[in-house]
Symmetry: C2
Subunit: 246 residues, 2 copies
């Protein structure tokens, strides 16, 4: 197995960072790894807002629901669906952009943001840095729009902490790979047994960490997926012009 695949197979989220800054050279290499990710139609509709200012990071940490590692990590990057950028191209071609009002457009922005995010995470880890992706920036999207100066036709999708690792974290077990890989057609006949087994595995993992508040996978999803976890996403996206109606 080569070094790249070893890195990927050992992915873990780091929530404890040293004060030591990330060098400009490292940050630029990480940014370029994200920038080289492919995008649907070569639209390049993802933009990355790099925040290193201490007060601004503290504010984002608070908006994300009190995630101290955002303030602690020296670099925080917000990936933005930037249909403002594509709109400038569409207008130059004397057309009217419609894709940002569609479910197709939203899926594309999500996938392309994920491609950028994964590339940046792997690049950072290949340099010995730690990372943790942050969905919590969608908790208060209007406040983030204001803080980052995001114009109409843009929306903050996901964030990433990057820094030198203070305290490493263990590998979190995944559900059996048979629930991820299907051959030739979808087959969920073994899902229930795999879920039961994973619920046991994840509790053992919490116990090993001494976490007494740990829940099973099923309990965790029951608590979190029974509602629209971040209910401000749709109304704020709509105010930004991403209507998602088509």
């Amino acid at each position: 197995m080569n070094e790249t695949i070893k890195l990927q197979h050992s992915h873990r989220s780091i929530r404890s960072y040293k004060a030591q800054p990330v060098s400009d050279e490292m940050l630029q290499a990480i940014i370029e790894a994200g920038h080289r990710a492919p995008s649907s139609m070569n639209a390049q509709e993802i933009s990355a807002i790099v925040v290193r200012d201490v007060e601004r990071k503290a504010k984002i940490a608070e908006l994300a629901g009190g995630q101290a590692w955002i303030a602690q990590a020296p670099v925080f990057i917000t990936l933005v669906a930037d249909f403002n950028k594509t709109d400038m191209g569409v207008r130059k071609a004397e057309q009217m952009q419609v894709i940002h009002e569609s479910m197709e457009g939203l899926i594309v922005a999500g996938i392309d943001a994920g491609l950028v995010l994964a590339n940046m995470m792997v690049a950072a880890r290949s340099l010995g840095l730690g990372i943790v992706p942050i969905g919590g920036i969608r908790r208060n999207p209007q406040a983030l729009v204001d803080l980052l100066g995001l114009p109409p036709l843009t929306f903050p999708l996901v964030g990433l902490c990057i820094g030198h690792v203070e305290k490493d974290a263990p590998l979190k077990p995944r559900m059996e790979v048979s629930t991820f890989r299907h051959d030739e057609h979808y087959d969920a006949s073994h899902y229930q047994a795999a879920i039961d087994s994973y619920d046991t595995t994840i509790m053992e993992y919490w116990n090993q960490l001494g976490r007494t508040d740990g829940l099973t996978w099923s309990q965790n999803l029951g608590n979190n997926l029974k509602h629209v976890y971040f209910p401000q996403v749709k109304p704020v996206a709509a105010m930004q012009g991403l209507l998602n109606d088509k």
Copy 2:
């Protein structure tokens, strides 16, 4: 610069594959790289359908709008938003799943699929294989749902060809990195100049390839983003129960 970052900085899409199969060991390493990608809430809501059957690949190539490389590549993987899997956990916890009816749920599925996709692409390229991501599976989503046996609460998001490279491809130029990286806050003041410059660069690139049908970035987006590029996405997703209304 290390090997991992070199790989990422040299990403290119391959559309010409040898008949030589991808070994089971390589495929498994690629699958595990995808499986180790993080997911929001640790929901692990992405599933990967591996297709190697010749007729099935030919059918997908046709459904995707006539993309011969899907039939030619020995492996084609479809990434699926699998809210059926999470629903089984939510039900086990005696709750009702709602997230799959929300824009937040769709963004999460898109991002998490992108994370899996990028990991699989980088893993495959680290093994010397070629790849091309395929959005065209969203052209006829109902036919793909039928072909892959996708149940309610699932939806095909994006595909990936993997194989040994027959004919390499050049690096495609990106727009200036200054249109991707913003510092502290969003700033589009240089976008128009960068778009004009990129429109020139991309035409030079087409000319170097001898492609007489090449368009500028702006013309390409004008043609493609002026409508809902894959209009069957929203209605078929709705039939699958992904309502996206909240």
